[in-house]
Symmetry: C2
Subunit: 236 residues, 2 copies
DNA sequence: CGTGTAATTGAATGCAGTCAAACGAAGTGG
DNA sequence: CCACTTCGTTTGACTGCATTCAATTACACG
């Protein structure tokens, strides 16, 4: 079977301390805990599809995902990467729209699902959580603003450097020591974050390796000279 | 003087019916009305600068503005156009961050300013307004997602067609009959919406005119064949 | 441990950016 | 009212970054 149930307890969930659910009152915790269900998703599975109606929110307990939108020729534009501690799907629920993106696991993921009605009830009883989500959405808008400007004005080379810096900051520190980016991204995924063709991305990787800015071990990428990346990124 | 005061009354403000303040209780209205100040801003004035701290929110009573972020070489990337009825500046206030963009008037504008403290108090007493703003922010995120995908995957030609369609839908219907886009945008502004060089934009305008898809009267642009634009836009 | 997917390299093309120059429009001050 | 200035628009020529197509090699994963 490609997906099965496990049991997780919100009260003792260690991930929760790094999430928007941090500091949630025990009353709300009990409420979620009673209504949520937890699933193990194997690599490559879709949590939700672009264009479908939100049925609830997803809380990532373990694993990483990509959120992408499909362009004309079926090319994925990766809008965001998500990891343990993040809540997915609440924005479309709040704006009462269809999902603008699809969410797909990049590795095995443990994900709790909270049905829409239960989540909304919890929100109604917990203004602090409501405010946190609002704040988070507004923060995301600032990031998207930067992304738009980068895509419109920066070269692919600059955007790749920016992507590496982002990947290291957000995904480099968790699992292993050093500056390895251990996230399981194919070259194509990487290209779809940067917003370029796979071949172009590979050529740039080659350039960066020649200059000893990065090195690679199969699919893994190790950042050797972050200050060089920062220089290439040409941040304003 | 480049800026002067006028008097407007929230209760009788006709713009309010098209805004997020629609349906606001008279108690809240009185509260805003007592704390707001209204200014006339001439064309080209800056309401707020990227990188500065939000001091309150701006409610557009009349006129149009551009919200832009500066890229490396000082090139503006226009993130959003705003017109009468829109509220600006609340997102950075909610996320407690510096403005990610600057807001500049494209023509003479009448703008009400509500100080941060007063606006927050009103929000605290009016959950419906709070919810509306949250919903609006989430909606904007979906739009930004589409923008990112377009910038990453579509050609300049396609993006220009999309921009025209957007301009017509959002700004074409208000002032004059027909499909004129009467918004006061320079060629450079238009290029900074599309995300291209001014010269490239001008060449594409020329192409579109040759094919009778648009015509121009000085700075004004008249859409002649919207279905052709839709075809060129190649929407998925 | 095979097999299909992913990664890589080469070659050719073209879209779009940059630089430069000329022209037009709008506003300013003498 | 006109000369002057400035800003915006347009066109031309050139360059190069990035895409696309094609073919081969490597490796991830069942």
């Amino acid at each position: 079977m490609s997906r099965h149930r496990i049991e997780l307890d919100c009260q003792s969930c260690s991930i929760r301390n790094n999430s928007v659910f941090n500091g949630l009152c025990s009353h709300s915790l009990t409420a979620i805990n009673g209504h949520k269900s937890t699933n193990v998703h194997r690599k490559g599975q879709i949590l939700f599809h672009e264009g479908t109606r939100p049925m609830g929110v997803y809380c990532i307990n373990k694993g990483k995902l990509k959120l992408y939108k499909l362009g004309n020729e079926g090319k994925e534009q990766i809008i965001q990467l998500a990891k343990e501690g993040e809540i997915l799907g609440y924005r479309s629920m709040m704006s009462e729209e269809l999902y603008p993106v699809s969410a797909e696991t990049l590795e095995e993921c443990h994900v709790c699902f909270i049905p829409k009605q239960d989540f909304l009830e919890m929100l109604a009883n917990n203004h602090e959580l409501y405010a946190k989500l609002f704040k988070h959405a507004c923060h995301e808008l600032g990031i998207m603003t930067q992304n738009v400007t980068n895509l419109a004005q920066k070269t692919v080379r600059e955007r790749l450097a920016i992507t590496f810096i982002m990947l290291k900051e957000t995904y480099g520190k968790d699992h292993e020591a050093g500056d390895k980016v251990v996230i399981n991204l194919t070259r194509e995924d990487l290209a779809n974050i940067v917003g370029t063709a796979t071949e172009t991305l590979i050529r740039l990787l080659h350039d960066f390796k020649e200059d000893d800015i990065i090195s690679t071990e199969g699919r893994k990428i190790i950042i050797q000279k972050e200050n060089e990346l920062i220089r290439i990124a040409n941040l304003s």
